[in-house]
């Protein structure tokens, strides 16, 4: 379902910024080859802005492309979740604020997206989202939203998983990870996975090994979850792209819940506050060997 007014505002702003030379490229959305679901679009010329769209199939977190395009100033279309990702990238000094023009969209929800199928079911993360206006933007599209309605939090499937016995959890996750083919789509789509050499690609010394087999898959997915703890903004792209349907978002949501409880921290609300597990304070006590 496309809101013509939102689309017009995106196109007008994109045209203005490209025409006056403020930016070199707009990272937005266009209609994909199934004619129903959106895909990322990179617009370089003012005459191409009419390709841009926005609707509830715009699931992609476009901030994942910002590091690729950090040489020149760009504009980016963001939902509230993606805006938090930009804060994470700014806080980690991966992009420069002056080089990103943020077109923020007030978002109600995005639907489950699968090529060739049009869905009307909201994504699970959207059902518990209580932030419909981006935390950071240069230009905002859409009106104010009532944020007072309480949402079911934490997510029901996280609570259900917490209720299982250790043995059941091990069985569940080894079953899931046995399906993993190590295509690394979870890593490739993630705005927070940007290491120049990922630990899993380290060959000398070889940290994980190249086998596509349950022990290695488990090692890969577990370490990745730890590396994202307190940095994941819950866009759920890892789970969406997984070709073998591993619910990686479940793992990440649990880790975010833990970080929230222990450090009273929610990732991406500001670019100033350092992520608890990705920072070290001089006077911090680790409680080890003291």
């Amino acid at each position: 379902m496309m809101d013509k007014n939102i689309v017009k505002q995106i196109r007008d702003k994109a045209k203005e910024l490209l025409s006056n030379g403020t930016i070199k490229c707009v990272l937005g959305y266009e209609t994909g080859t199934d004619g129903m679901n959106a895909r990322p679009a990179f617009i370089y010329e003012p005459e191409d802005v009419d390709r841009l769209i926005f609707d509830n199939t715009c699931t992609h977190n476009l901030s994942t492309y910002l590091r690729d395009k950090r040489e020149n100033p760009v504009a980016i279309v963001v939902k509230p979740c993606d805006a938090r990702a930009i804060n994470v990238l700014l806080g980690e000094r991966q992009i420069e604020r002056e080089k990103v023009f943020i077109i923020g969209i007030v978002c109600q929800e995005v639907v489950q997206v699968s090529w060739g199928e049009l869905s009307h079911d909201a994504q699970m993360r959207c059902k518990i989202c209580n932030q419909h206006t981006p935390v950071i933007y240069d230009f905002l599209i859409g009106g104010p939203v009532d944020e007072s309605a309480p949402k079911a939090e934490p997510p029901a499937n996280v609570t259900a998983m917490e209720g299982k016995s250790s043995g059941d959890k091990v069985d569940f996750w080894s079953g899931q990870f046995s399906k993993c083919v190590r295509c690394y789509a979870c890593r490739a789509v993630c705005m927070g996975c940007y290491c120049t050499v990922c630990f899993v690609d380290m060959l000398d010394p070889e940290w994980v090994g190249i086998k596509i087999a349950t022990p290695e898959n488990q090692m890969w997915n577990t370490i990745r979850a730890f590396h994202l703890s307190g940095r994941c903004i819950g866009c759920g792209e890892c789970a969406r792209v997984c070709p073998v349907n591993i619910p990686l978002d479940l793992l990440n949501m649990k880790m975010e819940k833990e970080v929230g409880e222990h450090f009273e921290f929610v990732s991406g609300l500001s670019s100033e506050e350092p992520a608890p597990l990705a920072s070290f304070l001089k006077d911090e006590s680790l409680g080890i060997g003291e």
């Binding site: 679009a41 090529w115 789509a185």
Partner: protein, 334 residues
């Protein structure tokens, strides 16, 4: 006159085959259809869209040992891999069967890949026609069809209450010797095919657009995961490594993909394909030019998995359609 089997007789035939052979068949796991070892016919799903992964993993597994190296008292011996079982792969779609035909060109040419060859030898392919191709399917543009029996040993096509059975090869005939078949006037139904793509001029057109900016613009969107390569029934690149223990060393190979930055990285750190655009371009040049030049066929079967599973909608059909136009564009410029 065609041969036909009832659904019940098909089930008993498959049941009988399992006594001395391993049956691999489509089944639903976590709401997804996959090919797996099945222990009884009840596990099999007969009604499925294309599986997430192709059947290539049963011939060229994601990870497999190639041989084991033993060293003792100064002697080194190589122990080959022994594939004990005979397999029946039931429910293979014509697109995946075409995929095996194309993999054969790579793995069975000289020098022959012995592990692959042995798995192929020991497996009988029982095909199942696609009655309703999915929107991403384009097998008819890639030289096969939803009911094409050319690349399997036995072909089954579902009709009311049963299946039309075609014994294609001697291997297939041997397997069918214990099946209960009857004669029928029913003929293989005509299956509606997706719109055919114009592919004839694509390899020639690819020759003149290597330097085109087009590849960089598509690569903008590409996130460079390995999904397309791993779900593809014909992509066949791999990495090899030795894993030693105190007793022996195992040489294993695993799937790898030209989309990964480390794929072409040489000793010393030089990478001939350092950019995302150069890696994306390689994928499509291999499929649409290099493979056709060497093996006279596209390295694609039109199964549509990469189309449906790409997280950002890199659609090979769009590229096939765009490339001839790029040629026209450069001709106008010249």
């Amino acid at each position: 006159m065609n041969k036909i089997t009832s659904k019940k007789d098909l089930a008993s035939w498959l049941d009988g085959l399992m006594k001395d052979k391993v049956l691999i068949a489509p089944a639903f796991v976590d709401n997804q259809s996959v090919f797996k070892h099945v222990a009884n016919v009840a596990e099999i799903t007969f009604d499925f869209k294309n599986t997430a992964l192709s059947v290539k993993e049963w011939f060229f597994p994601a990870t497999e040992p190639l041989f084991t190296i033993h060293q003792k008292d100064g002697d080194t011996t190589l122990e080959p891999i022994d594939i004990e079982n005979e397999f029946v792969l039931f429910g293979i779609r014509p697109c995946d069967a075409k995929g095996l035909k194309l993999l054969d060109k790579v793995f069975l040419g000289a020098p022959t890949d012995t592990v692959y060859a042995e798995r192929r030898d020991k497996t009988t392919l029982v095909g199942l026609s696609c009655l309703e191709p999915s929107p991403q399917c384009f097998c008819n543009s890639m030289g096969t069809a939803p009911n094409n029996a050319d690349d399997v040993d036995i072909m089954l096509t579902e009709v009311v209450d049963g299946y039309i059975v075609e014994a294609v090869t001697d291997k297939g005939k041997a397997l069918l010797s214990v099946a209960k078949l009857s004669n029928s006037k029913l003929s293989v139904p005509k299956i509606k095919c997706p719109t055919e793509l114009q592919v004839k001029n694509v390899p020639e057109a690819m020759k003149s657009c290597f330097e085109d900016d087009y590849w960089a613009r598509i690569a903008d969107r590409c996130i460079h995961c390995n999904i397309c390569a791993y779900v593809c029934p014909v992509c066949h690149c791999f990495d090899i490594r030795d894993y030693p223990t105190s007793e022996k060393t195992e040489r294993i190979r695993c799937w790898d993909s030209c989309q990964s930055p480390g794929f072409t990285c040489a000793a010393g750190g030089h990478t001939p394909r350092p950019t995302k655009a150069s890696r994306l371009r390689q994928r499509f040049y291999h499929k649409l030019l290099y493979f056709p030049e060497r093996f006279e066929d596209f390295q694609c079967t039109g199964c549509g998995r990469c189309v449906a599973l790409c997280p950002v909608n890199i659609d090979i059909r769009e590229i096939i359609t765009d490339v001839p136009k790029l040629g026209e564009k450069s001709a106008t410029k010249a």
